[in-house]
Symmetry: C2
Subunit: 167 residues, 2 copies
DNA sequence: AAAACATATTTGCAATGCAAATAATTTATT
DNA sequence: AATAAATTATTTGCATTGCAAATATGTTTT
């Protein structure tokens, strides 16, 4: 170490800045939609793969089912989601968006993701590949290769961890 | 857009993975120290610049003073910090570490930061400069250049936003 | 049929976080 | 000097997140 030290601490600062910025933008989205972060996250996940079981939703959010039940209670009381007990397996509850919920989701900004997509698209291919490689380095350093991505702008990521339903 | 799309979504995934990893490590640190994230954060800030006023601490944590008071209550009841009312300005309360608090801070792992420092140090200078530049790009994309870094391993960052005390 | 398992929920708890009100003190204004 | 205004920390009240443990109901396995 020695003269790298400034560059290193700059990288870490910038990582923290990015995290803070992403969280801030998510806070802005909260204000615009009237939903809290977890609520927004949950409703977007629902929007992406409705109908979804409570347990699956909890799995994707890495939260305890009891926590998700609370979040769903609040979303339901705002009229944004609805629960229906499955007829196939009467233990499970399927979560769906209401019409109002669809409106909210469609208007909810995806600010951080949106900015990132737009900004990254504007980079030269060379620069983009540097960024891409750098993020891989950071992920490797953090030993986070196996962390599943959490909340994405594309719908077909984040497959459920459970086996598919039976025929 | 088009064929960049995979690379872009990979960057975003990796950014999220990193954030998640950093948060997870902070959770681990919580378990080891018996302190919650905000408590650990607060006590480290105190350690870095004790004695510190409540209002300064709140400013540095970007939290409402009332919130910080609650955190300090819990740290104080664990015997890790102590409050002393300033004699110069009897409105202000100075926060200090207790001996026990110093022990906790000295043993508290800085996992995420530690791993990053170590990992970044092991990169070749060329790679490090790519990483460094890439993080600058991301910060610029997010418009986060002016976000102050929050929680650093070095003590002399994060200067208070208030004017210096008068002579 | 009984035991084991799975699913969602309820209850009870602790912590974060804010806003508004309050008490004490200092600074500014008249 | 007296009053008004501003600052500092705190208290109170509230909503939310988050978990663990217990419960109710239903399904699968033995």
């Amino acid at each position: 170490m020695g003269n790298n030290s400034d560059e290193i601490s700059e990288v870490i600062d910038n990582l923290r800045r990015s995290m803070k910025a992403i969280n801030e933008y998510s806070k802005t989205a909260e204000k615009e939609t009237g939903l809290t972060g977890p609520q927004l996250w949950a409703i977007k996940l629902v929007a992406g793969s409705a109908p979804i079981k409570v347990s699956d939703l909890a799995r994707r959010m890495y939260l305890h089912p009891a926590t998700v039940v609370g979040i769903l209670d609040r979303l339901e009381s705002k009229g944004l989601v609805q629960r229906t007990r499955s007829t196939e397996d009467r233990r499970v509850v399927e979560i769906d968006l209401t019409a109002q919920g669809r409106v909210v989701v469609s208007q909810a900004p995806e600010v951080a993701q949106g900015m990132l997509v737009k900004g990254l698209e504007s980079l030269s291919p060379k620069k983009l590949s540097h960024v891409s490689e750098s993020m891989r380095d950071i992920v490797r350093i953090l030993g986070a290769e196996d962390f599943p991505p959490q909340l994405l702008f594309s719908q077909e990521v984040n497959l459920p961890l459970e086996p598919a339903k039976k025929p």
